[in-house]
C-alpha cells in the first residue's frame, strides 16, 4: 500500500483489565502499536488473546484501564461520550462478525445511517458507486432479514465505507461466512479500502486473510508478540535508540 507516511493510529502503554485480585484478567496488557495512514493491518491470535478488546479500544467503543489511544494525533481515551460518538461516525467504520445491521432499516438506509446521524449531505454518486462495487444494486430496498450472510456483510462493509472514514475496523468479518463467500467479501473489503484510501484493521483467525495484509500483529495473553510497529519505523526506532545510546 501507498502513503505510509503519517501515523493514523497509535497506542501507548494501553491496558484493559477486568476483575481484581485472583480474578484479575489482563485482556490487554501494556500494548504499544502504531498504524500508518492507508495501511492494511491484520491482528491475529488465539481466542482470549485480547484481539477484540484491543479493537474495541482502538474504535472508541471501550475505555482503557490505562494508557492512551491516539487517533489522528488526538488522545481519544480521555474524550467524553458525545465527542466519541462524533469521532466514531466521522472517522471510524466498523464491520462486525455478526453483521449487526439495523433490522428495521433497508439496505440503503443502513448504509447511509452514519451519514444521517452526522447530518452530513449525501454524496449520492459515491454511495451508488460503493453499492455497485459491492454488488448490492438490486437489494437497496430489501430488509436485512431477507439477505444472505454474504449480502449482509457486504452491506455492513458499504456502511463502514460510506462516511469516508479514515479508519475501518473489522472484527472477524468473515467469521460467519463460508470460505468462498468469506474470500469474496475480504477481497471486496480490501479493494474498497484501497480504492477509497482508507486504513484497514482486521481481526481474523484466518491465515489466508492475514497474509493479504501489509502487516500482521500477533497477540498472545494481551501482549504483542510481533508486528506492533511498521517495519520501516522499527528501523527508525532502533536508530533512535542507537543514537540515544551514543
Amino acid at each position: 500500500m501507498k502513503n505510509q507516511t503519517n501515523t493514523i493510529l497509535q497506542t501507548e502503554d494501553l491496558c484493559k483489565y477486568y476483575g481484581s485480585g485472583d480474578n484479575l484478567v489482563k485482556a490487554v496488557d501494556h500494548i504499544d502499536l502504531q498504524i500508518m495512514q492507508g495501511e492494511f493491518v491484520s491482528i491475529i491470535g488465539k481466542s482470549g488473546s485480547g484481539k477484540s478488546t484491543l479493537l474495541h479500544m482502538l474504535g472508541a467503543l471501550d475505555n482503557p484501564t490505562s494508557g492512551k489511544v491516539y487517533l489522528d494525533g488526538e488522545n481519544i481515551a480521555s474524550l467524553k461520550a458525545d465527542k466519541l460518538s462524533t469521532i466514531r461516525r466521522r472517522k471510524i467504520g466498523f464491520i462486525f462478525q455478526a453483521f449487526n445491521l439495523i433490522p428495521a432499516l433497508n439496505v440503503w438506509e443502513n448504509i447511509v445511517l452514519p451519514l444521517g446521524l452526522d447530518g452530513k449531505p449525501l454524496d449520492e454518486a459515491f454511495i451508488e458507486d460503493i453499492i455497485a462495487t459491492l454488488g448490492l444494486a438490486e437489494k437497496k430496498r430489501s430488509l436485512p432479514n431477507t439477505l444472505s450472510g454474504g449480502q449482509q456483510q457486504r452491506c455492513a462493509i458499504a456502511r463502514a465505507i460510506a462516511a469516508k472514514p479514515s479508519l475501518i475496523l473489522a472484527d472477524e468479518p468473515t467469521g460467519n461466512l463460508d470460505t468462498k463467500t468469506g474470500d469474496e467479501v475480504m477481497a471486496l473489503l480490501k479493494a474498497s479500502a484501497q480504492k477509497y484510501g482508507q486504513t484497514l484493521v482486521v481481526i481474523t483467525h484466518n491465515e489466508e486473510i492475514a497474509q493479504m495484509a501489509d502487516r500482521t500483529i500477533m497477540l498472545a495473553d494481551g501482549r504483542i508478540l510481533s508486528g506492533g510497529i511498521p517495519t520501516d519505523r522499527k528501523n527508525d526506532a532502533k536508530e533512535a535508540v542507537f543514537h540515544a545510546k551514543n
Binding site: 471501550d62 460518538s85 466498523f94 452514519p114 452526522d118
Partner: protein, 839 residues
C-alpha cells in the same frame, strides 16, 4: 430434584433475573386486585349505607290530598301494614322566617310490638308530643329563632296563617317536648331555611270546628308483602289500595328508593360494580398480556435453549404458569389488603366531608350522620371474588404468550433474530435521521405499537369520558340556578297565590311600592366593593276568566316574562314542541311555555289560546295570546314568556323588576355580603341569595359523588400508565444490542434519548388522539344520557379541559421521565457490554 421442582426453580430464577418485568407484572396484578376489591367493598358499603338511609324512611308510598274519610278507610284497610298521616296546619308568620306548623300521627303500625296509638314518629329528647290545644314541640333551635327559651313548659307566642291563607292568627303555646338540637350556618339568609314545629290534634280540631281549617292530610303508608313481592307487584298493590279509597294515581308517590332497595337487593349496585370490574379486568388483562407477550418475544432464544436441552412443551407452559402463580401469590394478597383498607379508610372521610359541607339539606345530613362509622363493608365473598378474578385475569393473559412459547423450536430459537414482520422490503428514506429511526422502529412491529396505543388510549378514553360528565357536575351550575348572574341576588318575595286577605303581598301591589327604584340601586352601588347592579327581566302577573287548570292552581295568577332575540337560539335548542320564530311571535302575540312538567300537569297543548288580563300595578291590560312552543332551557326563564318586543309594546307603567343581580369584587365579598344581609333584613319581602352559600349547597352534593369516582379513575389511569412504562422498558431492553450498535456507529447519547423519546411521543400522541377524539365523543354522549337521567342535576356541558391537560401532562412527563431513567440506567453499562448482549 423432581421434574416439577426443576420447572418451579426455573420459573423462580427467571423471575429474579428479569426483575423489572417481574415488578411490572406484580404491580399490574396488585393494582387489578386492589381495584376489584376496592370497588367490591365500596359496593357492599354503598348497599349497606343505602339500606340504612332508606330504612330511616321505610314507608312504601305517600298518598297526597286525602279526605278524613279516606284516611279512616285506609287505617282499616286489610293490605295496609302501617299508616302515618301528616297535616300542614299553618304557615308561621314571623318576619322572613319560612316555617310551618304540622301535625303528624301514626294511625297504625302492625310491626310495633305493643299497640301504641299515640306515637307520632318523632324522636324527642325530652317531654311529650303535643296533646293539648296549646302545646307545641320542635327542636331547641326553632324556639331560639322565634325568641323563646327552649325548655319544656316554656312559653312561646306564634303568629300563623291557617292553611297559608286567611287572616294572621296569634296564639300562645306551651312547649311540651324538645327534639334533638341542630346547628344552623349563620352565613345563610333566613329566608333560605325551612322550619317546622309540631302541634296537637286538638288544635287542628278546634280550628276545623270553627270552620277556619279544612283538613287535607297526606299519608305515608306501608303495605304487606315487602318480603315476598317484587317491585312491580308492590307498585300494583299500592295502586290498588289507592283505587280502593278512590284516590287518583297522580296523588300517589312511591318511595322508589326504599322499594327498590328492599324488593331488589342491590341489583343496581351489583350491575354498576360488575360493569366497572369487567372494564378493569379487560384493561388489566391487556396490560398483563402485553408484558408476557413481549417477555416471550424477548426470551425466544432462552426458551429455545431450554427446549434444546430437553424441556417439553408442557414444562415450558408450566414454567410460565409458575411465574404467574408466584407473582400472584405476592401481589394478590397485598392487593386484597390495600383494596379493602382504601375504602375502609376513605369512605367515612367522604361521608364526613359531605356532612360538614351540607348545612341545609338536614334530612340527608341526618341520614348520613346516622350511618357514619357503622357501615358494614367487609364481605368474604367479595374478597374471594376479587382474588379469583385477578387470578383468572393472569391465567387468561398467559394463554397466548404460552402458546407462542410452546411453538418456539430449538433451532429457530438459537438462530433467532427478532423478525415479527413478514415484510421483505421497505421503501425507506433517502437519508436517515433520528426521526427515521424512530419511525422505522414503530412500524417494525405495527401490531405491538397499535395494541399499546389502543390499551393506553382506551383507559384514557374512559378517563376523559367520565371526566366530561363529572366536570359537568358543577356546583357552580347548581348555584347559578339561584343566582344566574353576579355574586348576589336580591329577590322580591311575592305571594305565589293570589292573597285575598293580605293583597299587599301580591306582586301587583308590591310593584307599586317600587322597591327596586333607581335610588335603591344607587344605594346598593354605593356599598364598597359592589361593582355592578343589574335588573333581571321583569315579571308581570296574568289572570284569566276562562276555565283553566293552570290558573286555578295558583288562585288565578300566573307570572309572565319575556325573552330577547338572543335567547331564541337557546330556547330553540331545547325545543320540545311547536316552533319559535321571534318575528311571527311578536306579530301574533304568541307565548312560549318553559316547563315541560307543568305543561303536562296543566293539560296544556300547543295552539291553546288564552284571554288574559295582565296586572301592571293597579292597571289592567287585556292580552289575548296563543301558546305556540314548549321548551325546557337550562337558563332560568319565567313559566310563560313572550317576546321582548311584545313586552315593550305593553307600555308598563310600574317597574316589573323582581330580581336584582349584584357583582362584588372578590376582596370585598364578605363585607358586601354583610351589608346586604343588613339591608335585606329591613324589608320582609327581600330575600338574599349569596354565591358562597349556593356554592356550598352545590358542592356538598357534588363532591360526595365526584371525588370517589375521580379516585377510581386515577387508579384506572395508573394501570394504563403501567402499560406505557412496560412498553417503553421492554422496547428498549429488547433492543439493547441494536441500540448499542447504533451507538457504535456514532449515535450520540442525546440522539439516543431523542430517538427513544420520539417513540414515546408517538405513543403519547396516539393515546392522546384516541382519548381526546373518542373520549370527547363518548363523553358528550354520556353527558347527554346523564342529563336525561337527571344525574347530579347536570344541566350544562363543561368540556373537561383541565382533566385533558392533566392527562396530556402526565403522559408526556411520564414517558419523558421513563426515557431519561432508562437512558441513565443504560449508560452504566459499557457500549461493548451492550453490543455483546444476547450474543
Amino acid at each position: 430434584m423432581r421434574k416439577t421442582d426443576t420447572v418451579f426453580h426455573l420459573a423462580w430464577q427467571r423471575l429474579r433475573y428479569n426483575k423489572s418485568r417481574t415488578l411490572l407484572t406484580g404491580i399490574a396484578i396488585l393494582l387489578t386486585t386492589m381495584l376489584l376489591t376496592a370497588i367490591g367493598t365500596v359496593g357492599v358499603a354503598s348497599f349497606d349505607m343505602n339500606r340504612q338511609i332508606y330504612s330511616l324512611s321505610d314507608y312504601h308510598a305517600s298518598f297526597n290530598g286525602l279526605t278524613p274519610k279516606q284516611v279512616q278507610t285506609l287505617s282499616s284497610h286489610i293490605r295496609v301494614e302501617a299508616l302515618q298521616t301528616s297535616e300542614t296546619f299553618a304557615d308561621i308568620k314571623n318576619g322572613k322566617m319560612n316555617g310551618v306548623l304540622t301535625f303528624t300521627n301514626v294511625l297504625r303500625d302492625d310491626r310495633a310490638e305493643t299497640a301504641d296509638s299515640n306515637t307520632h314518629a318523632l324522636t324527642l329528647e325530652e317531654g311529650h308530643y303535643p296533646e293539648a290545644e296549646n302545646e307545641i314541640c320542635s327542636s331547641p333551635v326553632f324556639f331560639r329563632r322565634v325568641g323563646a327559651n327552649p325548655v319544656v313548659g316554656g312559653k312561646v307566642t306564634l303568629s300563623f296563617r291557617v292553611n297559608g291563607k286567611g287572616e294572621i292568627q296569634t296564639k300562645d303555646f306551651i312547649i311540651s317536648g324538645l327534639m334533638p338540637d341542630m346547628e344552623i350556618d349563620e352565613g345563610i339568609d333566613d329566608s333560605r331555611l325551612m322550619w317546622a314545629a309540631f302541634v296537637s290534634k286538638a288544635l287542628l280540631q278546634a280550628y276545623e270546628d270553627a270552620g277556619f281549617y279544612a283538613a287535607e292530610p297526606n299519608a305515608t303508608l306501608r303495605v304487606y308483602g315487602e318480603e315476598e313481592l317484587t317491585f312491580d307487584e308492590m307498585e300494583d298493590r299500592i295502586l290498588s289500595v289507592a283505587a280502593d279509597i278512590g284516590l287518583e294515581e297522580s296523588h300517589v308517590n312511591l318511595n322508589k328508593e326504599y322499594l327498590s332497595t328492599v324488593t331488589d337487593p342491590g341489583t343496581e349496585i351489583i350491575a354498576i360494580v360488575t360493569v366497572i370490574c369487567l372494564i378493569i379486568i379487560l384493561f388489566s388483562a391487556l396490560v398483563i398480556y402485553s408484558i408476557y407477550y413481549v417477555g416471550v418475544i424477548t426470551d425466544v432464544q432462552e426458551i429455545g435453549k431450554l427446549k434444546a436441552l430437553g424441556a417439553s412443551r408442557r414444562q415450558i407452559a408450566g414454567m410460565f404458569y409458575w411465574q404467574g402463580t408466584i407473582v400472584s401469590a405476592f401481589a394478590i394478597p397485598a392487593g386484597l389488603l390495600i383494596g379493602f383498607l382504601l375504602p375502609y379508610l376513605l369512605f367515612p372521610l367522604v361521608l364526613w366531608a359531605y356532612r360538614s359541607g351540607s348545612a341545609i339539606s338536614s334530612y340527608s345530613r341526618d341520614a348520613v350522620e346516622a350511618v357514619t362509622g357503622q357501615i358494614h363493608m367487609f364481605s368474604l365473598p367479595v374478597l374471594f371474588a376479587a382474588a379469583a378474578a385477578s387470578l383468572a385475569t393472569v391465567v387468561v393473559s398467559l394463554q397466548k404468550p404460552i402458546r407462542m412459547a410452546k411453538k418456539v423450536s430449538p433451532v429457530e430459537a438459537i438462530r433467532y433474530q427478532e423478525n415479527t414482520t413478514d415484510q421483505k422490503s421497505r421503501k425507506g428514506h433517502h437519508t436517515v435521521k433520528v426521526s427515521t429511526l424512530t419511525f422505522a422502529n414503530l412500524t417494525r412491529n405495527k401490531r405491538r405499537t397499535a395494541v399499546t396505543i389502543l390499551t393506553m388510549g382506551l383507559s384514557c378514553v374512559l378517563f376523559i369520558c367520565v371526566s366530561a360528565v363529572l366536570s359537568s357536575v358543577s356546583a357552580e351550575d347548581i348555584a347559578r340556578r339561584n343566582i344566574p348572574k353576579g355574586d348576589f341576588r336580591i329577590s322580591l318575595e311575592y305571594a305565589h297565590y293570589f292573597d285575598k286577605e293580605y293583597p299587599e303581598n301580591n306582586l301587583d301591589s308590591l310593584v307599586q311600592k317600587n322597591y327596586f327604584s333607581d335610588a335603591f340601586l344607587s344605594q346598593l352601588l354605593a356599598i364598597e366593593g359592589v361593582e355592578k347592579v343589574e335588573r333581571a327581566p321583569g315579571i308581570i302577573l296574568s289572570s284569566t276568566d276562562m276555565e283553566s287548570v293552570m290558573y286555578e292552581d295558583y288562585d288565578g295568577r300566573q307570572p309572565l316574562s319575556y325573552f330577547t332575540r338572543e335567547d331564541v337560539a337557546e330556547l330553540s335548542a331545547y325545543l320540545e314542541q311547536g316552533s319559535i320564530d321571534y318575528d311571527r311571535m311578536t306579530a301574533n302575540n304568541e307565548i312560549v311555555c318553559t316547563h315541560v312538567y307543568s305543561f303536562e300537569q296543566y293539560g296544556l297543548s300547543i295552539g291553546d289560546t288564552f284571554s288574559l288580563t295582565l296586572h301592571d300595578g293597579s292597571r289592567e291590560i287585556p292580552f289575548t295570546t296563543t301558546l305556540t312552543a314548549l321548551t325546557q332551557p337550562d337558563s332560568n326563564f319565567s313559566f310563560l314568556i313572550m317576546t321582548e318586543d311584545t313586552w315593550n309594546s305593553l307600555g308598563l307603567t310600574c317597574d316589573p323588576t323582581t330580581d336584582i343581580y349584584l357583582y362584588a369584587d372578590d376582596e370585598h365579598y364578605d363585607s358586601v355580603k354583610e351589608s346586604l344581609l343588613e339591608l335585606v333584613a329591613v324589608n320582609e319581602y327581600f330575600t338574599l341569595y349569596a354565591m358562597d352559600v349556593e356554592l356550598k349547597i352545590g358542592r356538598s352534593g357534588v363532591d360526595l359523588t365526584r371525588n370517589p369516582i375521580y379516585l377510581l379513575l386515577s387508579l384506572i389511569a395508573v394501570i394504563g400508565f403501567i402499560n406505557l412504562i412496560n412498553t417503553m422498558i421492554t422496547s428498549i431492553v429488547t433492543r439493547k444490542k441494536e441500540l448499542g450498535i447504533l451507538q457504535a456507529l456514532g449515535l450520540s447519547d442525546s440522539q439516543l434519548v431523542r430517538m427513544l423519546s420520539g417513540e414515546g411521543l408517538v405513543f403519547t400522541a396516539g393515546t392522546l388522539l384516541i382519548s381526546l377524539t373518542l373520549g370527547n365523543f363518548f363523553g358528550y354522549l354520556f353527558y347527554k344520557w346523564a342529563k336525561q337521567e337527571h344525574f347530579m342535576s347536570i344541566s350544562r356541558y363543561h368540556y373537561p379541559l383541565w382533566q385533558s391537560i392533566c392527562l396530556a401532562l402526565v403522559l408526556l412527563g411520564g414517558q419523558l421521565l421513563i426515557t431519561l431513567f432508562i437512558g441513565q440506567k443504560m449508560k452504566k453499562e459499557s457500549l461493548i457490554e451492550r453490543i455483546r448482549n444476547q450474543e
